[in-house]
Subunit: 356 residues, 2 copies
């Protein structure tokens, strides 16, 4: 059994920051480091989206690392994407060590246009930095009336079933399907907990939920410090492991990127990025599917009002909770650790070395 | 806690049948019911593969149901597939109430050729009967040097997280990626247990593993009879539910087939089939990926010899166990319930109504 949390108040002090204020700060910081206006706006908006949707691990806390990556020369603020259609429906993107968010947004634009003619189109993306949450991309694909699948690899933090060392990324997968009034958007990691949550639990002196991590010897642990010496377990046992491995292989092969412990550059400040991304876009219109797909919406509504199991108020559709949290935070502001906000303001206001 | 199994010997008596003998019997039975030679051989081989790979729920036990479907007029033994490229890379297949195995094999043939030019190609398949295990299709795709993804919907047997009624199929997904000496092949249901295993546990008087099913009131149960009045739980909690729902929506939309409780015709003898299938084929050659992908094979080998957790002899790659079981059964024969084999021999030898 996990001991009760005893040091809740020892977590980082949070302050509320308006999403527009965070956006302006982020853009200013990136601009000072040589990032062009549109890339700075786009990259920052994806970080702000992470905080708006309650995923701080994909939020503004990543900005100092991006700056560190620019300063150490592994992230090129002026990189120009290289996009090439290697065949009629396959797009190879080389990010040239630029922003992952810029690469994926470009992929969506090009793939959506192409899928309108070919029915399905796919991109493999290499040498582009961390792409953040998948949900915003899937929403963008669905706004164009398209179905989307996005997969990405990440540093090895997850052990294979039966193993005791981290050999797989948390390898998230996202699926977006157009529906009314909101699209269906799944955005999930194939790890059973995020590295950020393990770190946060350690900082707060809290136990981890059982079954999420193993220690260095391969035994299950709820002690975050032991988990940090061990590995994160895949979600859902052997099946989750299988899915994670499938994503690792498929993405690496089709984006010509690294595997397992060779995957680097999304968490640290100095390793060239070796992870990959894959995006598939499908146009339901070309298959003769009704659009908007009213029967999908009716089915999702049937799920929302379905009889509940003991202990549940309602059946949720993936994305529902995140959407309402986002609405709330758009009004109330995003909670950021006070120290992070101070750090961001310092980055915004500091004199740049070598600047006139 | 589950009580120990007490009636192991009350399960059906098993006999060993040579896979070739089973193949011949299946072909003869289908031929008697108006199925052409090549379709009969293909459909039977997929059933035999189910038994060879230790998945009897996808094996010869389904043949009597297929015959029942032919006799009741919902499965057309002489159906001709309608295939049409609705766009350059999207193939719509209407099975015209014929065999699902025939439809998927045709899809693989056409998609593989097309992906060689377009990079990626996809098929949506409707009005085709149960397609059986996904692994054999993925192996076929990998033999051609291609990456494959196969998804299919099925009768609503799985409850959404928080719900207590079955509103989702067991919606399997398969992913195949070429590697040496064997391809990587994932073939998994998104339910935490198969309906066949629940039925078999009831017949043997055994308990179910915990966490796999709920009763009619929505409470977890290990009693198979109560589970039969309830629903199967998705694997991996909310994430598995999300994945299952994504497959349900994506397949239904792109094959123009039914959703939730409207999905019929894979388990019974008399409902027209309303489930759908989706197949994606990608050619790694067009993205400039090395072929054969030796670094994928090296990574899979790294996993196989990775340090193990307590209680494990080795790290397994999805498909490894099934492959060795298949080898064993190719030599030793497939275990079939004696009553099933008698039933198959009767179907093979009976005089057909209306036959001279």
């Amino acid at each position: 059994m996990a001991p009760p949390a005893t040091q809740d108040n020892d977590g980082p002090k949070l302050i509320s920051v308006g999403h527009d204020e965070a956006q302006q700060a982020g853009e200013a910081i990136l601009a000072k480091h040589g990032v062009g206006r549109s890339a700075a706006a786009l990259q920052t908006s994806h970080l702000v989206e992470g905080d708006l949707r309650g995923r701080p691990s994909h939020g503004m806390q990543r900005l100092p690392t991006l700056i560190e990556r620019i300063e150490s020369g592994v992230l090129d603020p002026e990189a120009e994407l290289q996009t090439s259609w290697t065949s009629d429906a396959f797009l190879a993107i080389d990010g040239h060590d630029g922003f992952g968010t810029v690469a994926i947004e470009a992929a969506i634009e090009l793939l959506s246009d192409r899928a309108g003619r070919t029915g399905v189109a796919m991109a493999g993306v290499r040498r582009a930095s961390h792409i953040g949450m998948l949900a915003p991309y899937l929403e963008r694909i669905c706004e164009r009336g398209m179905v989307g699948i996005v997969m990405t690899t990440s540093e090895a933090l997850v052990h294979p079933t039966g193993g005791r060392t981290a050999l797989l990324g948390t390898n998230p997968i996202g699926v977006g399907v157009p529906a009314d009034p909101e699209p269906f958007v799944l955005d999930m990691s194939t790890g059973s907990i995020s590295a950020g949550e393990v770190i946060a639990s350690a900082q707060r002196g809290e136990s981890l939920p059982p079954g999420r991590c193993i220690d260095a010897a391969g035994n299950p642990t709820t002690v975050p410090e032991r988990a940090q010496d061990g590995a994160i377990s895949p979600f859902g046992g052997g099946k989750g492991y299988g899915l994670s491995l499938a994503i690792e292989l498929l993405v690496a092969l089709l984006s010509r990127t690294a595997l397992g412990v060779e995957v680097r550059g999304t968490l640290d400040g100095h390793h060239p990025v070796t992870k990959g991304d894959a995006v598939i876009v499908i146009d339901p219109a070309v298959v003769g599917a009704p659009s908007p797909a009213s029967y999908l919406s009716a089915y999702l509504e049937e799920l929302r009002v379905a009889p509940t199991a003991p202990g549940y108020d309602s059946v949720l559709i993936p994305g529902d909770r995140m959407r309402s949290e986002r609405e709330r935070r758009l009004r109330a502001g995003i909670p950021l650790p006070a120290a992070l906000w101070q750090e961001l303001l310092r980055l915004r206001d500091e004199k740049m070395a070598g600047a006139e």
